[in-house]
């Protein structure tokens, strides 16, 4: 694995073990609940897709109606898995990969507790019918104070440490900083305004989409891009190429992520200048994505060929970057009026979202976990087979899911555009795709189950390992990443 090679560059020094073990509690406080949320999200998503196979599935119980479980699935993935993983990446960055101690680790535990409390109440609220149906702003009001406090508790701290230990001209720190501050600024503003009765009318629609695209691109997307830049030197021994281009892309990202949301409203009740700002922003985001991708692939090409061991982190990261480029491209092309006419409001847009969420964010965050957990726990992943199974199941699952939805969306769009075809027949032409999509959804659930088991195994092993280590009290027992059979 790549860790072994990095070990040689940074030999285990006295004090490093303390630094790494100060990360153990906060990282596990983020990762373990996130793994649970990943399960919740995949189970809800699978139930949702089964409901489209047969709407009578699971009867007519209000809690599990399609319109509630499908937003609940997306919300649990984004807020339960995505944001904690972003914070994990920041933790890794501010401790310079476990080399510096982390002050105030206990605060993270408190924050993680509050966050999960808020989220459980929020998702339960969505299922109980308390949502205002505002996409990523759809969590009910009563869950917001707890979520907000939790985020401020950890993010405020992290921003302070990140700035104190700032690394000049590091792209990773820039993107992570963007994610850290965009979410509370925008989320706080949006939540306050939505609860102001004088805010009404179409502004609610544009507010919703400003936040949706912002959260995906400037929030979670920035976290994932930060994680990518953070991990790259570990895999390749060098940072992403074209640093100047990367800095330019960063600023483009900051600005246009805030304007891209309007692209969703093509044809909607908004003046042309707003919609065209959105469409052009999506294109400029795509350009920035290509610039980032160039830096990534150029660095990867010059890297030494892969060692004999299969490295899960690198595979996940590569898949993540591939999905990122495709998703950003689709995000731009699909909103062009010539295309939007056909594909707007079809499942092709869901395909793009799937690629972005599961393909880009999910896979990049898995790359992060596969890389940092062995070092934090002082124990390498127990089974290459399980890691491979996780990778294969999720990469095929995501590709087929996105592929089926994309082709189905084209059929749906062409049929919708022809006013002679009644809506019932439009849906009939789409149904085979929706029904087959249940299979990749199941593969994704299996992938996440495999990951959960693997994580559990790692935790159990590392717990045993730690007790032994404490008994023996030998320095350097927890050799990073070195698997002793």
């Amino acid at each position: 694995m790549a860790e072994t090679s990095e070990c040689e560059e940074t030999p285990v020094r006295a004090g490093t073990r303390d630094a790494v073990s100060s990360l153990r509690v906060p990282v596990l406080g983020l990762v373990v609940p996130a793994a649970v949320w990943l399960w919740v999200a995949s189970i809800l998503a699978l139930l949702g897709s089964l409901k489209l196979v047969d709407p009578r599935f699971l009867g007519t119980w209000g809690w599990l109606t399609f319109g509630r479980i499908s937003p609940a699935a997306f919300l649990s993935f984004v807020y339960g898995f995505g944001i904690p993983m972003g914070l994990c990446a920041v933790l890794w960055a501010v401790t310079k990969g476990g080399r510096l101690p982390l002050p105030g680790g206990r605060w993270f535990l408190a924050s993680s507790f509050l966050w999960n409390l808020g989220l459980w109440s929020g998702i339960t609220g969505v299922l109980a019918g308390e949502s205002r149906s505002l996409s990523w702003l759809g969590l009910p009001t009563f869950s917001l104070p707890s979520l907000g406090m939790a985020y401020l508790l950890s993010a405020g701290w992290l921003v302070a440490v990140l700035v104190r230990r700032w690394e000049e001209s590091s792209l990773a720190s820039r993107f992570l900083l963007l994610g850290l501050v965009w979410i509370p600024w925008a989320g706080g503003a949006a939540a306050l305004w939505l609860h102001d009765p004088s805010v009404r009318g179409v502004a609610i629609g544009s507010l919703e989409w400003w936040f949706n695209d912002g959260l995906l691109y400037a929030g979670l997307g920035a976290f994932a891009l930060g994680a990518m830049h953070l991990l790259l030197p570990g895999f390749l021994g060098r940072p992403a190429s074209f640093a100047g281009l990367g800095r330019w892309a960063f600023w483009a990202w900051v600005l246009f992520a805030n304007l891209a949301g309007m692209a969703h409203l093509v044809g909607g009740p908004f003046p042309l200048w707003m919609v065209s700002t959105g469409v052009s922003s999506r294109f400029l985001l795509w350009a920035a994505a290509v610039a980032i991708g160039l830096g990534f692939w150029a660095a990867a090409r010059g890297a030494p060929a892969e060692g004999k061991q299969w490295d899960p982190g690198w595979h996940f990261l590569r898949f993540g970057m591939g999905s990122f480029l495709v998703a950003a491209g689709l995000g731009a092309v699909l909103v062009l009026p010539a295309w939007s006419r056909y594909v707007h409001y079809t499942v092709l847009e869901e395909a793009q979202l799937t690629l972005f969420l599961y393909g880009f964010l999910g896979m990049t965050f898995f790359a992060l976990l596969y890389t940092i957990l062995p070092r934090v726990l002082g124990r390498s992943w127990p089974s290459v087979g399980l890691a491979k199974a996780h990778f294969l199941l999720s990469s095929y699952g995501i590709s087929f899911l996105a592929g089926l939805l994309a082709v189905g969306g084209l059929f749906q769009g062409v049929a919708l555009d022809n006013a002679e075809v009644p809506i019932h027949e439009v849906i009939l032409s789409l149904l085979p795709f929706l029904r087959s999509a249940a299979a990749p959804a199941m593969a994704l659930l299996a992938a996440h189950a495999v990951f959960g088991l693997h994580l559990l195994w790692l935790l159990v092993e590392s717990g045993a390992n730690r007790r032994e280590g404490e008994k023996a009290a030998l320095p350097g027992v927890a050799m990073e990443g070195a698997r002793t059979p």
Partner: protein, 195 residues
């Protein structure tokens, strides 16, 4: 200024730019208020039921202009929807996906309350094989005393109940239908003329 400070300022300014263009401008600049003011009473409650049950996962409430889709040709509205028609609403479910017809003007083309009650109770009695879920949890099964209540659903065949019972819409279903009936988006100018 140090690098992190510059970054923080830049991010704040960019977020503010997005905010003022996408939230503040539409709020203050987009058109005069529509006729009739905000939905109130049952229809307003119904809007919340519409949102809470995720009808927007399958239905939109936007009529696009003729060059951007078949919305008008399908009879979902006589013209594209404009900002003033949403001016007073607190629930603006423009929607994300069209697995069903657009509902921006559904109150204009479907006007029979009972039709809606039957649709929401079991969409497949109206559209056989439809993908729309049934919303039976918005209804109550109550004992039948004497003649059926005026709103009782006419259930026959497999859906028929044991004798001595009837199915009536709960307040949630009534509110939701009131909301659906209120969905008739007319631009202000035209509404003035018709008065």
């Amino acid at each position: 200024m140090t690098e992190p400070k510059r970054l923080l300022l830049g991010i704040l300014l960019a977020t503010g730019a997005g905010w003022s263009l996408l939230v503040w401008m539409p709020l203050t600049k987009l058109g005069p208020a529509g006729p009739g003011g905000a939905p109130f009473g049952r229809a307003a409650v119904g809007g919340r039921i519409y949102a809470a049950n995720g009808c927007a996962s399958c239905h939109t409430q936007v009529v696009r202009p003729a060059n951007l889709g078949s919305d008008i040709a399908r009879g979902w509205g006589a013209r594209r929807t404009t900002p003033p028609e949403y001016r007073e609403e607190h629930i603006v479910p423009l929607g994300v996906l069209r697995l069903g017809p657009d509902l921006a003007n559904v109150g204009e083309r479907r006007t029979d309350v009972r039709w809606y009650y039957r649709l929401l109770y079991d969409p497949r009695t109206i559209f056989p094989g439809s993908l729309m879920p049934s919303y039976r949890y918005l209804y109550a099964r109550v004992p039948l005393l004497g003649t059926p209540l005026p709103d009782a659903l006419p259930l026959a065949g497999r859906a028929a109940l044991a004798p001595g019972f009837q199915v009536v819409p709960r307040p949630e279903a009534r509110a939701l239908v009131a909301y659906l009936l209120s969905l008739q988006r007319v631009p202000p100018a035209e509404a003035d003329q018709s008065q």
